[in-house]
C-alpha cells in the first residue's frame, strides 16, 4: 500500500466575505510531485500557506507525515522544507551565513557545503544576499528549504519572474529532488512546469478544485481532440474569417490577435477547410502547429479562460 505524505480533507479558509479556499481535499503519496495549478487568486498560495503553518485553516483537517493536525506545529515543521513565493533574506548576510542561520532552527541539518553544491552556489558562498541575481536568490531560497533534508517540500511558484535559464536551473534541482524520492508540493501557473514535473495535478479556480489527475489524464479528459494553432497574417479580421471557415468541424475556437487556436475531433477535415479558405481569400498562414491538448487547454476548457488571465 502506498504511504501518504500529506492528506488534506475539506480544507477551508475565508477572508471576510471572500472564500479563498473552499472545501478542498487531496492526498499526496510519499515521493510524488503534487501540483496545484491555477491563475492568480485561485487559492493555491492560501492552501499552501495553511499547509506550511503560516495561516490557520477555518476548517478541515491536515494529515502530515502520519500526524493529524488542525494546524501545522513545530514538530511537523522539523520535517518540512518551504520555498515561499516571496520570502526575502537579511540583505547584509552572506550566502553561507544564511544557510547556517536556517540550519540552526532544525534538529537535523545538512552540511552547508552540500546545500551550496546542490543549488550551485559554491562560488557565491561569501557573497552578500543583496548582491545576488534573482535566479541566484531563488536558488538560495531553495537551498534554505533543503537545509534540514526535509521529507516534504513546499514550493510556491518557484520560478515566477525568473528568466528561462534560471527557471531551467530550478527545474533541474526539483527533478533531482524527485529522483531522491522527496515529496514535493508545488504551485504554479506555468503549465509546462506542471507537465514537466508533476505526478498529480489539481486545477484550482476561485478557491475550488475544478480538475484533477496526472497531466496526461487531464489532457486525455478532453477526449480525442487535437489542437490546431496558426497565425492568419495580413488583415486584422483574418482570425474571424478563419474562424468562420473552420466552422462546424471545430467545436471550440479561440482568437488572440492574429493567433487562432482551434479544437477539433476531425483534424483532416479542419485542415482542408483552413487551406481552402486561405487560398480563396489569399490569406498567408504561418506558425501552423498541430498538437495534443496540454494543461493550458484543460484549464481553458474548464473555465473558458487562460491561466494568465
Amino acid at each position: 500500500m502506498e504511504q501518504i505524505a500529506l492528506r488534506v480533507t475539506s480544507l477551508r479558509k475565508r477572508y471576510g466575505d471572500v472564500i479563498a479556499v473552499d472545501d478542498i481535499s487531496f492526498e499526496v503519496p510519499i515521493g510524488k510531485v503534487f501540483t496545484l495549478l491555477g491563475p492568480n487568486g485561485a487559492g493555491k498560495t492560501t492552501t499552501l500557506e495553511m499547509l506550511e503553518g503560516i495561516r490557520v485553516p477555518d476548517g478541515g483537517e491536515i494529515e502530515l507525515l502520519g500526524r493529524k493536525l488542525k494546524r501545522v506545529d513545530r514538530k511537523a515543521k522539523q520535517r518540512m522544507g518551504v520555498l515561499l513565493q516571496e520570502g526575502h533574506f537579511e540583505p547584509y548576510l552572506r550566502v553561507r551565513e544564511v544557510i547556517h542561520l536556517f540550519s540552526s532552527f532544525f534538529d537535523r541539518s545538512v552540511a552547508a557545503e552540500d546545500i551550496l553544491a546542490r543549488v550551485a552556489l559554491q562560488e557565491k558562498e561569501k557573497a552578500s544576499v543583496r548582491s545576488l541575481s534573482g535566479g541566484q536568490r531563488q536558488r538560495l531560497a531553495l537551498g534554505v528549504a533543503l537545509v534540514n533534508d526535509p521529507d516534504l517540500i513546499f514550493l510556491d511558484e518557484p520560478t515566477t519572474g525568473l528568466d528561462p535559464q534560471a527557471r531551467r536551473n530550478i527545474w533541474d534541482i526539483m527533478a533531482d529532488l524527485k529522483r531522491r524520492e522527496r515529496t514535493l508540493i508545488l504551485t504554479t501557473h506555468y503549465m509546462e512546469e506542471a507537465e514537466a514535473l508533476s505526478d498529480d495535478v489539481r486545477i484550482m479556480d476561485h478557491g475550488r478544485v475544478i480538475g484533477s489527475g496526472s497531466p496526461a489524464e487531464l489532457a486525455s479528459g478532453l477526449g480525442q481532440e487535437t489542437i490546431l494553432e496558426f497565425s492568419a497574417g495580413g488583415a486584422g479580421t483574418s482570425g474571424d474569417g478563419a474562424s468562420a471557415a473552420l466552422g462546424s468541424c471545430c467545436h471550440k475556437i479561440r482568437i488572440d490577435g492574429e493567433t487562432v487556436t482551434a479544437h477539433t475531433m476531425d483534424l483532416m477535415h479542419a485542415m482542408e477547410r483552413l487551406l481552402e479558405w486561405s487560398k480563396r481569400e489569399q490569406v498567408k498562414l504561418s506558425n501552423v502547429v498541430v498538437r495534443q491538448p496540454n494543461l493550458e487547454d484543460v484549464f481553458l476548457s474548464l473555465t473558458g479562460r487562460t491561466l494568465r488571465e
Binding site: 477572508y15 506550511e52 503553518g53 503560516i54 495561516r55 513545530r74 514538530k75 515543521k77 522539523q78 518540512m80 518551504v82 515561499l84 516571496e86 520570502g87 526575502h88 533574506f89 537579511e90 547584509y92 548576510l93 551565513e97 547556517h100 542561520l101 536556517f102 540552526s104 532552527f105 532544525f106 534538529d107 552578500s128 534554505v144 513546499f154
Partner: protein, 405 residues
C-alpha cells in the same frame, strides 16, 4: 539554544554591516554626549561657589591666633569682605565643649555625605601652640605636625575641586603668617590631612557626571524604541519574518535571540560612551559598579521590551516609527535624563511616575553616587520590571509574522 544564538549573531553581524544601524548605535550617542558636554558644561564654570564648613575646635586666644587668622581668611573668601565673587559659602558652627565638638563634626560630615557641603575644614585643638612651636624651631628641625583636617567627598567633582582650592588657601595663609613673624621657610609646608567620606549623593556635580548616565540610558532608549521595532517591522514588510515562521523557530525564541543580540550591541555602545566619557571628558561617575551595571541592564531590557511591544502593535514599519515617536518625547524629557525635573505640573507628574525612564535614570545615578531623588529604592526595580514583563507578554502574544493574523 543554537537557534537563539544564531538569531543573536545575525542581529549583531547585520548591525555592523549596515551603516544606519551602526550610526544609531554608536555614532549618535557619542555625538550627543560630546555636544551636550561641550554646550552645557561651560555654563556653570564661571561662578563656582564651594559650600564649606569650618569647625574650629581650637578656642580663640588673645594675641597670636593662627587659627583665628585662617578662619578670617576663609570668611574673607566667602564674601564678608570686599570680594566681588565669593569662593566659598562658609558656615562656622560654634564648638565649645568636647561633647559638642564631636557632634558638630559629625553633623557637618553628614551634610558632606548627602551633598549639602563640598568640604569640611576642622582646625584641631592645640593648633595655635603647635604652629607657634614650628615658627620658633625654624628650618631643619623635626617638628610636631601642625595638621588641619579637610574632609571632602571623593568622587564628587566639586568636592575634590574644593579640596584643591582649600589647600591653596591654607598654603597662602601659612606663608603670610610665617613672613609676618619673620620665620618664613619655604621648606616648611602647612600640614593638611586629606580625609574623605563616602557620599550618599545629591550634591552639585560636574555636568558630564550628570549627563553621562543620562546619555547611556538615552542611547538604550533610542535604539530600543526606534531600532528594535524598525528592524522587526521592516523584516516583516520584506517577508523575512514569514521566512522564519515556516521553520520550527517560535516567536519567543526569535525574540530571545533578537534580545540577546541587542544586548550585545548595547554593551558595545555603553563601553564606547563610558570610555569617551571618563577618559576623554573627565567624567568621574562610577558607572562600572555592579549595582549601576544592573540598572543599565534593566534599562536595555526595558527599552528592548518597549521595542517588542511597538513591533507587536504596529502594522507596518512606518506605523511603528509613529508609535515610537509618540512615546519617545515624554519618555525622554519626562524621565529626568538630561535635566532635573524638579517641580513639574501634576499632569506631567503622572506621566513621570509611570515612565520607566524616571526610575531607570534614578537607579543609574544613585548607584553611581550622583543623585538622590524622591523615588523609593524598590520602585526603581519594580516599575521597569513591570514594564518589561507586561510588554514581552503582549509581544509574544501579538507579534505576527504577517500583517494579517
Amino acid at each position: 539554544m543554537k537557534d537563539i544564538l544564531s538569531v543573536a549573531a545575525t542581529y549583531v553581524i547585520t548591525a555592523f554591516r549596515e551603516r544606519t544601524t551602526l550610526f544609531w548605535f554608536l555614532v549618535f550617542p557619542l555625538f550627543l554626549l560630546l555636544i551636550l558636554t561641550l554646550v552645557f558644561s561651560g555654563m556653570g564654570t564661571t561662578s563656582v561657589v564651594f559650600d564649606a564648613a569650618l569647625v574650629r575646635i581650637e578656642a580663640p586666644q588673645e594675641g597670636f591666633d593662627p587659627a583665628g587668622i585662617i578662619e578670617q581668611a576663609f570668611r574673607e573668601l566667602s564674601g564678608t569682605g570686599e570680594l566681588e565673587q565669593p569662593l566659598f559659602a562658609l558656615s562656622v558652627p560654634a564648638a565649645n565643649t568636647d561633647e559638642a565638638v564631636s557632634q558638630i563634626v559629625e553633623t557637618q560630615l553628614a551634610q558632606l555625605r548627602n551633598g549639602e557641603l563640598d568640604a569640611v575644614i576642622v582646625i584641631p585643638a592645640g593648633f595655635n601652640a603647635a604652629f607657634g612651636q614650628r615658627m620658633a624651631a625654624g628650618a631643619g628641625t623635626e617638628l610636631v605636625p601642625v595638621d588641619i583636617e579637610v574632609w571632602v567627598d571623593e568622587g564628587r567633582t566639586t568636592s575634590e575641586l574644593a579640596f584643591d582650592v582649600i589647600g591653596q588657601v591654607l598654603a597662602t595663609v601659612d606663608r603670610e603668617l610665617q613672613m609676618a613673624v619673620g620665620g618664613y621657610n619655604a621648606a616648611i609646608e602647612p600640614g593638611v590631612i586629606f580625609e574623605t567620606v563616602s557620599s550618599d549623593g545629591s550634591g552639585e556635580l560636574a555636568y558630564i557626571d550628570f549627563v553621562l548616565p543620562g546619555v547611556l540610558v538615552m542611547g538604550f532608549l533610542t535604539v530600543g524604541l526606534f531600532g528594535v521595532p524598525g528592524t522587526i517591522l521592516y523584516g516583516r514588510d520584506q517577508g523575512l519574518l514569514r521566512r522564519y515562521w515556516v521553520t520550527p523557530l517560535t516567536v519567543p525564541r526569535y525574540l530571545a535571540g533578537y534580545g540577546l543580540g541587542h544586548l550585545a550591541l548595547c554593551v558595545i555602545q555603553a563601553a564606547a560612551l563610558i570610555l569617551v566619557g571618563t577618559l576623554g571628558l573627565g567624567a568621574s561617575v562610577s558607572v562600572l559598579q555592579p549595582a549601576t551595571l544592573l540598572f543599565l541592564l534593566l534599562a536595555v531590557c526595558t527599552f528592548l521590551a518597549f521595542g517588542f511591544l511597538i513591533a507587536s502593535l504596529a502594522r507596518t514599519a512606518n506605523g511603528g516609527m509613529a508609535i515610537a515617536n509618540i512615546l519617545n518625547m515624554p519618555m525622554m524629557f519626562l524621565g529626568g535624563l538630561f535635566f532635573s525635573i524638579g517641580d513639574v505640573p501634576i499632569a506631567l507628574r503622572v506621566i513621570m511616575l509611570i515612565n520607566p525612564v524616571t526610575y531607570l535614570a534614578e537607579g543609574v545615578r544613585r548607584t553611581s553616587g550622583v543623585e538622590v531623588g524622591h523615588v523609593p529604592w524598590l520602585a526603581t526595580l519594580l516599575v521597569p520590571g513591570a514594564w518589561i514583563v507586561g510588554s514581552i507578554l503582549i509581544a509574544v502574544k501579538r507579534l505576527s509574522w504577517d500583517v494579517e493574523r
